[in-house]
Symmetry: C2
Subunit: 329 residues, 2 copies
């Protein structure tokens, strides 16, 4: 393996000089820069990131902490896009990534997790799918041992940024469109998982809408479960004008129930998952660019790792009409 040592010898400079050139340090003349860079080219030198990580604490090793939404469900789509986006962007930014799942940390203390991450020379983490109940992870964030970006949870401090769409406004928008277009007054709202950050945000958006348009709303907790959404719709859907769901999956459940009951009600969902294309129904939903959010999260993490202060980052969304569609090959 060609090392920085070889490059130094080839270019006729010292090891430290090569390192300086590679890392864009000041105090190195244009001339030597060129010498070093051509040496790097000609020797096909690729710096060993493991050595770099060991030697420098500020080096970029990053951990993805993923709370698999699909424990028994088919919605791996979102997680996959998160992971894919993050890893791709990390490659661009020259950061090392390891992927971990919440399930690995079951029954582990903050100290254990911290030690584990340290043993991996992790400097920054991105957390996907954090819920209010994950006390250990909240503690981990608070301790600020690592730079951190949290997706869809409003946690910000010196070393922690939060990222995601404005769920309140998005829920408001998509519901309003559906309700106005169909001239509805009585809403059945199937909310998400208790203690989920986005659950509360989306519900707040609904409440605002209800107040504004002077509607009535029945709120039921669907826990992001298709089956629960179906049952709720069966029980309460008949004398409502519209079923607004906090996720596409629950919207599928609601639509199945409506089909079973043989009544029509407009339904709207949230997320814009491709899976919708397989159900053969129509509805409004909020389309999120999960992969893009994850890329942004990685960029933000890099900013944090290079010293920037934590902040709240909002990403865009669009109202989409999901339709039955054939997949294009």
């Amino acid at each position: 393996m060609v090392s920085i040592k070889d490059v130094a010898k080839y270019a006729g400079v010292a090891i430290s000089t090569v390192s300086k050139v590679l890392n864009n340090y000041p105090n190195v003349s244009e001339e030597t820069k060129i010498k070093v860079n051509t040496a790097v080219e000609e020797l096909n030198f690729v710096p060993n990131s493991v050595a770099a990580a060991l030697s420098s604490k500020r080096a970029g090793r990053v951990a993805l902490l993923v709370n698999l939404s699909a424990k028994t469900q088919a919605i791996d789509e979102i997680d996959m896009q998160y992971i894919h986006g993050a890893i791709n962007k990390a490659m661009d930014l020259n950061l090392d990534v390891i992927t971990l799942f919440f399930s690995m940390f079951k029954d582990r203390t903050v100290e254990e997790i911290t030690r584990y991450l340290q043993s991996q020379s992790i400097a920054g983490i991105i957390i996907y799918g954090l819920s209010k109940e994950d006390m250990v992870l909240h503690e981990l964030i608070e301790r600020q041992e690592f730079k951190c970006v949290v997706v869809d949870a409003p946690i910000v401090n010196e070393n922690t940024s939060s990222i995601g769409i404005n769920h309140q406004k998005a829920q408001y928008d998509v519901a309003k469109k559906t309700i106005v277009d169909n001239n509805c007054r009585r809403i059945l709202y199937i909310a998400g998982k208790r203690n989920g950050y986005v659950t509360d945000e989306r519900l707040a958006g609904m409440r605002k809408l209800v107040e504004e348009l002077e509607l009535t709303m029945l709120v039921k907790n669907g826990e992001f479960s298709e089956l629960m959404a179906r049952n709720i719709t069966m029980k309460y859907g008949r004398n409502k004008d519209v079923v607004v769901c906090a996720s596409d999956l629950m919207a599928i459940g609601a639509m199945k129930a409506l089909t079973e009951m043989d009544i029509f009600r407009p339904v709207c969902g949230f997320d814009g998952i491709i899976l919708m294309g397989y159900v053969g129904k129509q509805m409004n939903t909020i389309s999120q660019d999960f992969s893009g959010i994850s890329e942004k999260a990685m960029e933000e993490l890099q900013q944090l790792m290079s010293g920037k202060c934590g902040q709240n980052v909002k990403t865009p969304y669009t109202i989409a009409r999901m339709e039955y569609m054939d997949i294009i090959c």
Copy 2:
């Protein structure tokens, strides 16, 4: 961070002795072993895997090379299970994992990829979704610079193992059951992606069945695309008794076509994806335990890395009847 040095000092032995105890080397007395182990306990020492990887070539850093099957499709399910299984098992085995996607290696030469992996101190790789056209990756495997486990491609050498179900037999089994149960004679077989390893295997299984039962079979290439399967079924399905598909996704396409044409034909698929539960149809399929396969792959890779010779590993499968189902929460 507590290091091996601290442990050595605490236990009153040399650094090298601690390392020996940790790695189960011979020539260390039971007494010192205990001293070291209690020191490790009391100091909550977790070895730094980055340092270990740097210092020892045999250390376990592993790369997952994933060919995302879902470029534009919803079948992230399989990839996600692969990744999940591999990472979980790696944690058990104390191996570091980085996840990479084929797309990152587009237009890269073998040398570039090799250097990249070396720069990450990678000792072993697992390849998911290899097709016969991926020349660069084949070259990479042949060079044997890394220990390698290939999923669903029959490549075995000193440093390479292959793992997966017996696709030929599985295809034979599920088709036979469907055909015998429904008393069919004329088969429309929608094969997978040209140049896919599993495509040929599954086709071979069909040919064997056709010969054995003296059936007739029309083979069309569906490229694992739902739309193509639909079109093929539209065009050729009418005067056939059964549509056998090399994947569940294509089976969905076939069933949609049959519905559109308003004719009934038994359909069978392959994979056992959960997505099937959202389509509302019934069919036979082969159910694979993707997560389990990936775990086995990781175990096999560890064996290779500790010196074992490459081999062919077969994993079990079951014939399943996928039905419309509600997702249990």
